[in-house]
């Protein structure tokens, strides 16, 4: 089976332990962090394994790309530590298992994977998008969300087959062999997690924002500047692919939207709290959400922009209650587009 | 019988009888006759019983089936996945009755009149275009739009008045349109709704051939029944046209300021015709036309849009009167509802609704309190000519 490319020696000599010291939730000083890192290297029972909120931040903070979070998940699973209640985990595992009903389609470029979010389909209309080919379904689901449930084994089991489904059923007629990934998590699966486990990805993943940026850039005459202050709710999975962050700023610039300066943004972004609630850590989720929303409100934003539908489900109502409009990035682009 | 494989799936739960908020019984035949057999669920179970030889076709069975006036409330509110087939199922069952010759006398007479006279009024074909005499309205000769008037618009007094108002407004706005006049024949919507699918097919194919021959691409209909059949059924027979209801065109003309509208103070409530509303989802265009008129106050009946209560003119009942009269007849119920809004005018967009509601006003003795006017007439009044 697939082994994580985790370099124990690299962690052992790390002076800063950024992964744990900078963790927004554990509040560890360097001395404590070093002790816990040692346990993680040895595979011992560390408090990190039970306290981790699975926000993925440490993957971003590690200056060596040594996959601290993936290591945590491996240890959680091997030590039977469950971040979320087992019935919730098991139901989630069942609900997105492949069903073997994928069909071969002759899709020409561009091909967009909507993963498990068919609701995005209706947003991909009009001249801005020119009806790109897209697909979704359980047979194409990236499965990366099971990191939140400490189930690397599920991802290892399913992902090779998912990749094969995509390659043979959806990209067979593609000339570019590029796959535009709607969700940060899909893109991160193929560019971060799969390589970390030595799983080959035959196609070239493209971040949806890159596609969006290029589409808008090619048709600036159709854009009416939005002239609004926006907050961006950074999805946790973007932490796995921080090099893609810049697209957010690039798109906002094209749209004339001003991304406000606020405390809990970019590297300091807060988890939406949705996963925490599933884990049963409602008080923590509540605190984070209040901090996050108060931060947005204080910055006087007009919109809170999401890319992740799960973040949107979790926060939209609360955002609205503060007279801020929740909106998906794709809808913000459509808003500024003159058909 | 078509759809016989799904008839057994009806659970007779009764959602089909109500409005969305369960406020009212919204199935006109059930409201009128009260027995469960006259509800959509009742029909489904009886059709199945007939298919299973548990009951035989009878005049009472026929009455029950033909009392469905195809208003579409059941289709709107049924909670099951086969809901969109409900009216098709009732129509298929009626077709079985037609092929057995077991239809109520009024239905039989309607079919006979349609076959012989090609209109339900037994009037000569030559009279068909006479409503346009004295106007500037031209015969169709490759103009942008064909203005299709229909049976009621051609022969019924109220319908003819509507046709003149619509034609007048279209002319004032400089729209390029023409009419078929005495060349026009019946659209066949109600023939189909009553199960005579062979006569319908003949009427439809004749119309499609004629329209193609003379180069018709866009059609404005007066009657929502024609709108429905041209939009939904004619394409299946090779007749693909761009179809508009006149309220949509008037809305466009008003928004483009191709007509000048002055103020007109009146309190109006709008009655959604089933074939425009529930069947084709056009709820706002007629309202927008009314809202264009300064001084006009638009008030809604409790049952509006998807929940509108049918006037009783649909499904051929306008000609066959299976539902009959009486204080529980749909048109009288609807007029009482309109009156309760405090409106002085019931605005309509269908010539059948116009006549049905007008008759009901008389039955309710409300002539001094409320009147029926179609949207074209209201707009015509407000337009600066």
């Amino acid at each position: 089976m697939y082994e994580l490319k985790f370099d124990e020696k690299m962690c052992a000599v790390c002076e800063t332990c950024d992964c744990l010291v900078r963790c927004p939730y554990l509040n560890l000083d360097l001395e404590h962090a070093k002790k816990e890192v040692e346990k993680l290297i040895q595979g011992d029972n560390s408090m990190v394994l039970t306290e981790c909120v699975t926000c993925y931040s440490c993957e971003e903070y590690c200056p060596y790309g040594n996959h601290p979070f993936y290591r945590i998940v491996e240890l959680q699973e091997s030590q039977d530590i469950y971040p979320a209640p087992k019935p919730i985990m098991n139901q989630q595992i069942k609900s997105m298992s492949p069903v073997g009903k994928g069909k071969v389609e002759e899709l020409k470029d561009p091909v967009i994977s909507l993963c498990a979010f068919p609701e995005a389909k209706k947003a991909l209309r009009g001249d801005l998008f020119q009806n790109p080919n897209n697909y979704f379904g359980r047979d194409y689901f990236c499965n990366l969300m099971y990191l939140h449930f400490a189930r690397s084994s599920i991802i290892k089991e399913r992902l090779p087959r998912i990749i094969e489904n995509i390659w043979k059923q959806k990209l067979n007629k593609s000339e570019s062999k590029e796959l535009i990934c709607y969700h940060d998590e899909c893109y991160a699966t193929y560019t971060s997690w799969a390589p970390a486990y030595g799983i080959e990805v035959p196609f070239k993943p493209i971040h949806f924002y890159e596609y969006l940026y290029n589409r808008i850039r090619a048709s600036m005459e159709n854009i009416t500047p939005i002239d609004a202050k926006v907050a961006y709710q950074r999805p946790c999975s973007n932490r796995l692919i921080p090099e893609q962050q810049h697209w957010v700023d690039d798109i906002f610039e094209l749209l004339g939207a001003q991304r406000v300066k606020r405390e809990y943004d970019r590297e300091d972004a807060l988890c939406c709290g949705g996963i925490l609630r599933m884990q049963g850590r409602d008080d923590l989720a509540h605190d984070l959400q209040v901090k996050n929303l108060e931060d947005m409100e204080a910055a006087g934003v007009d919109y809170c922009v999401f890319n992740c539908p799960f973040c949107s489900y979790t926060l939209s109502e609360m955002v609205k209650e503060r007279n801020i409009k929740p909106i998906m990035m794709i809808d913000l682009c459509t808003l500024s587009w003159n058909d | 019988m078509e759809y016989k494989d799904i008839v057994h799936r009806c659970f007779r739960c009764g959602y089909c009888k109500f409005t969305d908020d369960y406020q009212d019984i919204n199935c006109p035949s059930y409201k009128k006759f009260s027995f469960e057999t006259y509800s959509p669920g009742g029909r489904m179970w009886l059709i199945r019983a007939w298919l299973n030889n548990e009951i035989v076709m009878s005049s009472h069975y026929a009455e029950i089936l033909f009392s469905c006036i195809t208003c579409g409330n059941c289709k709107e509110h049924c909670v099951f996945t086969f809901k969109d087939e409900l009216l098709n199922i009732f129509e298929a069952a009626k077709t079985e009755l037609v092929s057995e010759g077991l239809v109520p006398p009024a239905v039989r007479d309607y079919f006979k009149t349609m076959s012989i006279n090609e209109n339900p009024y037994k009037e000569p074909q030559d009279e068909r275009g006479k409503w346009a005499e004295g106007t500037d309205i031209q015969r169709y000769s490759n103009q942008e739009y064909l203005f299709y008037v229909g049976d009621v618009g051609s022969y019924d007094e109220r319908g003819k008045k509507m046709a003149r108002h619509i034609g007048g407004l279209l002319s004032e706005a400089g729209l390029s349109f023409g009419i078929l006049g005495k060349e026009e024949t019946s659209d066949g919507n109600d023939v189909k709704a009553l199960g005579e699918k062979w006569l319908f097919q003949q009427l439809a194919e004749d119309n499609i051939r004629k329209f193609h021959e003379i180069g018709v691409k866009k059609i404005i209909t007066l009657d929502p029944h024609a709108f429905n059949v041209f939009s939904q059924e004619y394409p299946l027979l090779g007749g693909d046209f761009e179809v508009w209801h006149y309220t949509q065109i008037l809305n466009m003309l008003a928004k483009e300021k191709r007509i000048t509208i002055s103020s007109c103070e009146m309190k109006v409530t709008y009655h959604d015709p089933c074939y425009l509303g529930r069947h084709n989802r056009i709820y706002e265009a007629p309202r927008e036309v009314l809202s264009c008129i300064p001084g006009l106050e638009l008030v809604e009946m409790a049952r509006n849009r998807e929940d509108a209560f049918c006037c009783g003119g649909g499904g051929g009942n306008f000609f066959t009167d299976i539902l009959g009269t009486g204080v529980d007849s749909p048109n009288r119920i609807r007029v009482r509802e309109a009156y309760d809004t405090g409106a002085e005018i019931i605005a309509v967009a269908c010539p059948m609704c116009s006549k049905m509601l007008d008759d009901a006003i008389k039955s309710e003795e409300l002539e001094e309190r409320i009147a029926v006017k179609d949207i074209a007439e209201i707009l015509y009044q407000a337009v600066v000519h």
């Binding site: 019935p87 979790t314 | 009888k17 369960y22 406020q23 009886l46 009878s58």
Partner: protein, 459 residues
């Protein structure tokens, strides 16, 4: 029969009596698996006096009378087992009085749940009644008289506990009132008089025709939310119910389990509805409910599923349209359930019994439970869908229903709104003196045995 037909026509008018095969067919059956039985007539009275005259006629002619509301019990309670007259009461659809201060409404027996729900929402938006999950066509009377339950039952018990009194036409023709309405012009209470109301509750129309009911109304909250607690071990459920109901924070507590969709199999979903008038109140209630099951969350044995915002409206509906859709699960338009009223601690065994029965007869099944009172009981519905067009399939459901009845009784429960077979099972188990009393009351009130015969009858 012609003489009787003419007499009935004389009472209600020719438009409201039918002996046509079509009406007789329709009213001979319901949506469940019970065998149909053709009546002699279907009659739709409009007034109490018309009903009285019909009852007197029926006594004279020894004609059975079967009162009918929405006919949505699914267990054949309105099927005329010995022919006779089916009394469709839905023309008696007036809402007679709403007393806001004392919070009650007086209705005729044909008033539907939907009509009352809507009426209150428009005219008395601060008040509501307890709404069952049966389709809105079901009548207030029909649901109450069978001891129904609804969305307020977790707080206030069976719907019969929300009943203030009745007007009823006795089988011998007298018109009688029970509760405070028998003394006062106000229908606000059942106590403290000798409880005659009980003579008509759960009797399936064998003791009279109810012509008015007064039911309690409740303050209608401004906000509603839904929480879903998921477990994999049914043995935990009684304790979870005990804890959640012990907080007194929930309005409605239901439990679902089913094999489809595939992600649902093996899980129990406890759906907890909370209501309140402010977000503060709602947050407080959520917190207390979460705290009550903290033990299960911490031990990872249970957790709250995130309910997607787009799914919440359907889950907060009353009645739940989704439950009706279950009827078409086999693409067959049929379903029937045994509603076992069981003590909460019997849930696990009832659950296991359902799986066993499913194994034998039905791959598709559903368990739906509603908690009654603060966990005093559960309405455990062993639900079996079937394809009405397939006689073998119907028979399999019948067998599953039969064994579900056995399970209910074996687990210390009582069968709710039971069909004849289940009634027989209960009477066999019943304390003999109780059974004797039941028969005595029936004989006394209905000496000619005309009221819905076949029901509660010792064979």
């Amino acid at each position: 029969m012609e003489k009787i037909y003419n007499a009935l026509t004389d009472i209600v008018g020719s438009g409201y009596v039918s002996k046509e095969p079509e009406e007789l067919f329709f009213y001979s059956r319901d949506q469940g698996t019970s065998e149909p039985k053709i009546p002699d007539f279907v009659v739709m009275p409009r007034t109490t006096q018309e009903i009285q005259r019909i009852v007197l006629l029926a006594n004279k002619e020894k004609l059975p009378i079967i009162p009918m509301g929405g006919s949505l019990t699914l267990s054949g309670l309105c099927i005329p087992h010995r022919k006779g007259v089916v009394l469709d009461l839905k023309r008696m659809d007036s809402i007679l009085e709403v007393n806001e201060t004392s919070r009650y409404v007086l209705v005729e027996p044909g008033v539907s749940q939907g009509a009352l729900q809507s009426y209150l929402a428009i005219k008395h938006p601060e008040l509501m009644h307890s709404i069952p999950d049966a389709p809105p066509a079901n009548t207030i009377a029909g649901n109450i008289l069978i001891h129904g339950s609804g969305h307020l039952s977790q707080e206030t018990g069976f719907h019969t506990e929300m009943l203030n009194g009745l007007e009823v036409v006795l089988p011998t023709g007298e018109i009688c009132k029970t509760g405070s309405g028998s003394i006062s012009p106000k229908w606000f209470a059942r106590a403290p008089l000798p409880d005659l109301t009980g003579l008509f509750l759960g009797w399936f129309g064998t003791t009279g025709v109810v012509t008015k009911l007064s039911i309690r109304l409740y303050p209608k909250p401004l906000k509603k939310d839904v929480m879903m607690f998921v477990t994999e071990n049914p043995d935990h459920i009684p304790d979870i119910i005990y804890r959640v109901t012990g907080t007194k924070m929930a309005e409605d507590v239901n439990l679902f389990a089913q094999p489809k969709p595939d992600w649902a199999e093996g899980f129990q979903q406890t759906v907890i509805n909370i209501t309140g008038d402010s977000e503060e109140e709602m947050s407080f209630k959520r917190r207390l409910i979460r705290k009550s099951v903290e033990h299960y969350i911490k031990s990872k044995e249970g957790g709250f599923m995130l309910v997607l915002p787009q799914l919440k409206p359907a889950m907060k509906e009353a009645p739940l349209r989704e439950l009706t859709r279950f009827a078409d699960m086999m693409k067959g338009g049929g379903f029937e359930y045994v509603g076992g009223i069981i003590p909460t601690e019997s849930f696990p065994q009832a659950y296991y019994d359902t799986l066993e029965i499913a194994e034998k007869y039905r791959p598709k099944w559903s368990i739906m439970c509603r908690v009654i009172g603060r966990g005093h009981a559960m309405m455990f519905a062993y639900s079996w869908p079937f394809n009405r067009a397939d006689a073998k399939d119907v028979e399999m459901s019948r067998k599953a229903l039969f064994e579900s009845n056995i399970s209910s009784l074996k687990n210390g429960g009582v069968i709710w709104k039971s069909e004849l077979e289940g009634q027989r099972m209960m009477m066999e188990k019943m304390d003999p003196n109780t059974l004797n009393l039941l028969q005595k009351i029936k004989r006394t009130l209905d000496p000619n045995g005309i009221m819905n015969p076949g029901n509660w009858e010792v064979v």
